[in-house]
């Protein structure tokens, strides 16, 4: 019986940046960890592994996250968005605003999935 965690330590492919990040180095890993805590239970994977995060930019005044969904008919969009905001609110310094923007362009494709997620799904 294998779960996603069993694929965690696989190969150098994981070293690849999961999404473009711009901002202070000190926040890079905490933000990645926070986003990885948001899991889509339907697919048993974090939104980072599914490849739903298109980018994170941290400026002086805000943390800006670009988030996509695999389907325009997905009713849990707002729930996931709120979870992302909640996780980032917890770690971001109080003066930073958290702004999660939903984007549909470019559309999500299978290539966005992380290496371990693809292995979990039998690719």
């Amino acid at each position: 019986m294998k779960t996603l965690e069993d694929f965690a330590s696989d190969g150098p492919a994981e070293a690849k940046e999961p999404y473009p990040y711009e901002g202070p180095e000190s926040l890079r890993q905490p933000i990645l960890d926070a986003l990885t805590r948001v899991v889509d239970p339907e697919v048993a994977m974090s939104i980072v592994d599914v490849g739903l995060i298109y980018g994170v930019t941290v400026s002086h005044e805000k943390v800006h996250v670009l988030l996509t969904m695999t389907s325009a008919a997905c009713p849990v969009t707002d729930v996931i968005k709120e979870e992302v905001e909640g996780e980032l609110d917890r770690l971001a310094p109080p003066e930073l605003l958290v702004h999660v923007e939903l984007v549909w362009d470019p559309p999500w494709t299978i290539d966005r999935m992380s290496e371990r997620a693809r292995k979990f799904m039998g690719w």
Binding site: A73, W104, G122
Partner: protein, 381 residues
Amino acid sequence: MPHPPIRGERARSSAAAIAARPVFLVLVAVSLLAGIFGGLLRVGVMLPATADSAWLGQATLAHAALMIGAFLGTVIGLERAVAVNLRAAFAAPLASGLGGLCLLLGRAEPGAWLLVAASVAFMGVNLVVVRRQWAGHTLLLLAGALAWVAGNLLFALGQGTVATLPWWFAFLIMTIAAERLEMTRLMRRRPVAPWLLSAVLGAMVLGAALSAVSERLGGLVYGASLVLLALWLVTFDIARRTVFAQGLSRYMAICLLTGYVWLAIGGAAWMATALGLPLRDVALHALGLGFIFSMIMGHGPVILPAIARIKLQFGPFFYVPLVALHLSLALRLGWGAIDAQQRATGAISNGLSIALFAATVVGAAVVWRIRSGAEGARKSS
């Protein structure tokens, strides 16, 4: 396909939205409860509390319309309205919920036409989805909406259950299949998989259309397509992989996979009924309860937070109503096929399983509140 949200049109957590929530909750609960009581009376079970109610007779007559149109149609309409995030989209579930209320009050004709209106509005909502994302699964959602329109029109025109039910079930089945098709994109699959699904669902639509003219031929094609759909789902669904995950993901996968078994049983019984065997209850309820309620139980913990804005704490207790549903259905459709008393006992237990699921959801919401409250207190201290 990019689609910038149109700001003025977006549904927000306004006062109207907050006021609408209890209205929808009441409409959904009334159609579900009345549908269940009506269904129980159909197998000869009368609950003492409902004995002299005028609405019970109506609920018995309109059992399928209440369960499929007024209850599930409203829930699915709400789910899609939340997804497209447009206030006008809530007209569809409002119309189907009110349609159910009319049916209960003995206003059969306005009730049936409200269901037609609901499905037409719902078709419009799905056109918005297709415009935003042109994909196999969104087109399938639209096809499901069209099947609901067809079923509702046949119902409103008094065409009888043999012609109507295949379309109503096709609406639910295509809605579920669309969601599963979307998920299969994540899993490595043969390129032929979506085409196979199209062929199977095409056969289902053909079977539904034929049922109006030839019960036998239509039923055979329809039932066979359900068996093939079950095989497709068992072969290509990501539940095959997520069943090895933990917690909520595994629970959802188990709901899906066990639901597919009932789908196959329902399909086989549908074919047998078309050939004249007395298995109509098995055909309808393996499908309606075994397959569709398994999907509801599986998706409830993720969909409810989205449409009702209630957070739930998942726990192993969620397995209890699921097991109760499957066991009571096995009793009703197995032993109950030859013994009316067991059939009635099974049907009561089916109802109790659904009540237990509702209680589990309420309990999970309370536990989440207590836990998040405790966490908040710990952080602030």
